[in-house]
C-alpha cells in the first residue's frame, strides 16, 4: 500500500526559480519588531524569504524553471508528453494551471497536462504521477512543476509570514531502460485541519473577509493560511522519521547509499530534529532554510540546487528525498542525478501579464 516501483524512467534535470522580491531581517523587524524576529530566527533559523509580487504566481516561476531545462538540454518540445503542475497555488480555480503552462511553454497539443493540489509533499506525489503516466505511454519526456506561493495566503500579522517563502522547481523525467525508482506515499487525512485555508474552496466559497483571533492568538480571516504548529511539529519529528526507516527497510538500503538526504525545508528546528533522530551526518543533509525560508513543495529541490547548482563535476549522486506537510501527507523517494543537471537557482520578475483577466476581455 502506498509503495510504488517505477522502472524505465528517471529524473534527468532539476531547475529552481525564486522571485526577486527579497524579505530579510530588516524588513521582518519593521513588520514584527526586533524581539519577535530574534526569537523567530533563533528557533526556525530562517533569516530570509522570497515573496512573489501581486500578480506573479508559482506558474510564472515554474515557467522560467522549465524554460531553463528545455534550453540547457536543447529539448525538442514535441517530445514532452506529460506536464504535471503539483502545487496548492493555481493561477485560477479553472482552468488547470498546467494547461496554461502547456500553452506558454509551447508544448504540443498531444501533451497531457494536469494539476495536483498537494502542498509540501507535492514532489514525491507529483513524481509518482509522472512516472505512472509515462510508464503507460510512449512519450520521451515528462515535466513536473512543483512550487508554492504561501506568502499570498498568510496573514501579514502572523509570524508565519516570516516563514513562508515562494519558489518553484521544474523536474525533467526521461526514459532509461536501466532506471528503477521506489516511491512511498502516506496520508493521514484525520489531521486535515492542521494545515488549512478554510475559505475560497467550494465548502465556503465567499466567507466574510473579517479577521478573528484564533486559539494561537493570531488574527486571521478564512482566506488566510492556518497551521497548528505543535501538531505539525509532532508529525514532522515523529511520523516522518518512522516513514524514512520504513522506506529504507522496504528498499533494503541505508543512509550510506545516499550522497544527499534532502528533507522538505520546513524550518530549522524540524530539520535539526530529523538529523538527530535519524543520526545523520549533517554534511549529507542540504540545509538552506537560513537563506530561503520554507518554500513548500519544492524546498528539497531548491536545497539541492543551492548545494550542487554551481558545481560542475560530471558526477552522479544518489538522493533520498523526504517531503511532508498539508494533508497531512508525506512521501519518500530516491533518485540518481548528474550534478551537472542540477542547475543554479534563478531569480526572476517574470509574470504572465496576459493571464491577468479583465472581464471586458472575455
Amino acid at each position: 500500500m502506498g509503495k510504488f516501483v517505477n522502472t524505465g524512467i528517471r529524473i534527468e534535470a532539476i531547475a529552481t526559480v525564486v522571485p526577486n522580491n527579497y524579505y530579510g531581517h530588516e524588513k521582518n523587524v519593521q513588520m514584527f519588531g526586533e524581539e519577535t524576529v530574534d526569537k523567530f530566527e533563533k528557533i526556525t533559523n530562517i533569516f530570509a524569504t522570497y515573496k512573489v509580487s501581486k500578480h506573479q504566481t508559482v506558474s510564472d516561476l515554474g515557467y522560467v524553471a522549465a524554460v531553463e531545462i528545455i534550453n540547457k538540454l536543447k529539448l525538442n518540445k514535441h517530445d514532452i508528453g506529460v506536464l504535471v503542475f503539483a502545487s496548492p497555488a493555481p493561477d485560477y480555480i479553472q482552468p488547470p494551471t498546467a494547461c496554461v503552462l502547456q500553452y506558454r511553454l509551447g508544448l504540443p497539443n498531444d501533451c497531457a497536462a494536469l494539476d495536483i493540489t498537494h502542498g509540501c509533499s507535492s514532489f514525491p506525489y507529483g513524481s509518482q504521477v509522472v512516472y505512472s503516466m509515462m510508464a503507460s505511454s510512449d512519450c520521451r519526456y515528462g515535466l513536473l512543476i512543483v512550487g508554492d506561493s504561501n506568502s499570498k495566503n498568510v496573514n501579514q500579522k502572523d509570524n508565519s509570514y516570516m516563514l513562508c517563502s515562494d519558489a518553484a522547481s521544474a523536474i525533467l523525467f526521461i526514459r532509461d531502460s536501466d532506471a528503477v525508482n521506489k516511491t512511498m506515499l502516506k496520508t493521514d487525512g484525520s489531521r486535515y485541519k492542521d494545515i488549512i485555508i478554510p475559505g475560497r474552496g467550494m465548502r465556503d466559497l465567499n466567507p466574510i473577509d473579517s479577521e478573528v483571533v484564533c486559539s494561537d492568538g493570531v488574527s486571521r480571516s478564512k482566506y488566510n493560511w492556518y497551521m497548528n504548529g505543535m501538531n505539525v511539529f509532532v508529525f514532522a519529528t515523529r511520523d516522518v522519521p518512522k516513514a524514512v526507516k520504513e522506506y529504507l527497510e522496504w528498499t533494503d538500503t541505508d543512509f550510506e547509499k545516499y550522497d544527499a538526504i534532502a528533507f522538505h525545508q520546513a524550518n530549522g528546528i524540524i530539520i535539526d530534529r530529523l538529523v538527530k533522530t535519524l543520526k545523520l551526518k549533517e554534511e549529507k543533509v542540504p540545509n538552506v532554510i537560513h537563506d530561503y525560508g520554507n518554500t513548500g513543495g519544492n524546498s528539497l529541490l531548491l536545497a539541492l540546487c543551492e548545494k550542487y547548482g554551481n558545481i560542475e563535476l560530471n558526477k552522479t549522486i544518489e538522493v533520498l528525498g523526504v517531503a511532508f506537510g498539508v494533508g497531512l501527507s508525506l512521501g519518500v523517494t530516491s533518485f540518481s542525478i548528474n550534478i551537472d543537471n542540477i542547475f543554479p537557482i534563478i531569480k526572476t520578475d517574470n509574470q504572465f501579464d496576459d493571464g491577468i483577466i479583465e472581464l471586458e476581455d472575455l
Binding site: K39, I43, G217, G229, M230, V234, R238, I269, R273
Partner: protein, 72 residues
C-alpha cells in the same frame, strides 16, 4: 533533579532571568511562553526526560507546576 533545577531549565528555555518562574505561575501570564517556545518545550522534554509531549498535553498545561510534574 530539584524543583529549582527544573525551573532553571524552563527559565533558560524561555530566556528568562534566573528565579523568574515559580510552580504556581499561570502559563497564560508568561508572555514568553508562546507558540514558538512550545516547540522548544517538546524538544527539551524529549531530549532531557524522554517524555514525548503531544499538542493536547501541552494545551492541558495551566501552570508551570503542570510542566514540572512531567519532568521526571
Amino acid at each position: 533533579m530539584t524543583e529549582r533545577e527544573k525551573l532553571a531549565m524552563l527559565e533558560e528555555m524561555l530566556e528568562l532571568e534566573e528565579g523568574a518562574l515559580n510552580v504556581d505561575m499561570e502559563l497564560d501570564d508568561i508572555e514568553e511562553y508562546d507558540s514558538m517556545s512550545k516547540l522548544s518545550l517538546i524538544v527539551l522534554m524529549e531530549d532531557e526526560f524522554g517524555v514525548k509531549l503531544d499538542a493536547n498535553t501541552i494545551r492541558g498545561f495551566k501552570t508551570v507546576g503542570d510542566i514540572l510534574k512531567l519532568m521526571v
